[in-house]
Symmetry: C2
Subunit: 242 residues, 2 copies
Amino acid sequence: MRVLIIEDDPLHRSFLQEAVRAALPECREVLEAANGVTGEELARSHGAEQIILDLQMPGRNGIEAARSIWRERPETRILFWSNYSDEAYVRGVSRIVPDGAAYGYVLKSAAEERLKLALRSIFIENQCVIDREVRGLQQKSLGPNNGFSDTEYEILVDVALGLTDRIIARRRNLSLRSVQNRLQQLYDKLEVYHSLGEETGAINLRTRAVTNALLRKLLNYSALEKAEAELQEWLKQSAVDR
Amino acid sequence: MRVLIIEDDPLHRSFLQEAVRAALPECREVLEAANGVTGEELARSHGAEQIILDLQMPGRNGIEAARSIWRERPETRILFWSNYSDEAYVRGVSRIVPDGAAYGYVLKSAAEERLKLALRSIFIENQCVIDREVRGLQQKSLGPNNGFSDTEYEILVDVALGLTDRIIARRRNLSLRSVQNRLQQLYDKLEVYHSLGEETGAINLRTRAVTNALLRKLLNYSALEKAEAELQEWLKQSAVDR
DNA sequence: ATAGATCTTGCGGGTTCCCGCAGGACGCCG
DNA sequence: CGGCGTCCTGCGGGAACCCGCAAGATCTAT
């Protein structure tokens, strides 16, 4: 067996190296990469089947790397190893995991023992291991009760990117009014109205919705970065269409 | 000599412990805290005069901790030890450092040797040590040429918090039109107009300004968090006034 | 199949935003 | 002192936003 570690922090990298050697004695080689780009290259050139992946890295982040790795070999087993359980990350991961793939999500704050257990479960038993805390988020956020549906999330992102209602309508193939309806749902769910004092009209709903989403970690830097890239792509595309 | 380490990541904590012991043999005791709150308590109860402080921590973050520590004992020597050189952090630190205080800002990605040198310079020689990269940011961002003046930054924050022009005017003691003038400067400096395709009117200037600021790390989570707290404070205050 | 819930769309209006224009206040310098 | 640049301020108008109302469309369930 061979394991690839993609992690930018050298301390965490050597810690992972250590943990892998201890938990997986059958592992005969451990590769290391310090960022997303070289990580992908290594994964491709060595045909890595077991990967430990940090989500937050400068440049190409973990989610992008995972997506392109899984696109080539969906059976790759990936353990996400992250500092945070931001809803933006959790959502991003859920969105890209292929059907039936074995993966894991363990927080860096977890005890070393948990990490080792997760390593064996995923890489040997081929089972999913999701940190309890992350699991809770998944259920809450993906259930339609309290959380945000995919379409609502799309609109939220569009608003955050600074698109006009009209452009959002064009991009998502909706009428202007429908976009505004969805916006109202958003304002409701994000509790934009109560976020300031009771001064009516004291608030710009649009930007406040975005910062509320940021404050509750529904959005974060890497989500914005990714969304921005997709938007630029779409802009090029739609310029051609017209 | 006694050194206090405030850092949430256990790996980095023990690494710092090690580095301090190696670089400062005259240090007879090293205290550790895993978050801002207990860090402040330890600093107070032990009268710590040398502190190594992580900026990004859950809950009470490094900037808040530093501010309250420096408020009590401005002669405390603090080494900021951070993953990032976001302009938001750099600006936040510059804003709170007392006159003549010795402090340092070293990135976690720096070589171990740099860290040790910085430790000696700050804690023994009482000299400031600012990472080159951070230094560059400081000069660029605080000079009025290319960067943002304090008043512009204030307005940017207010916009990000979702305040209306009218409320911003009231908060900053300006007329409505002045606020809007400043907004136009902001849109200009943040290059809001060119951030999308040349489609005129395709863009909501207000929210786009915020995300542009986020994307270039002029704002980040902890800056928003802090600004939100100050806003709530002001809301209470102004409710009393009225 | 019929009723009810949910989603979409159009219309209309009140409000806020964005900004050009122009007048006034203040400091600087020859 | 008279010009000049910079900032603050008011006015006005076009555009975008927020949202109540109401008529279709779609889907579900009994």
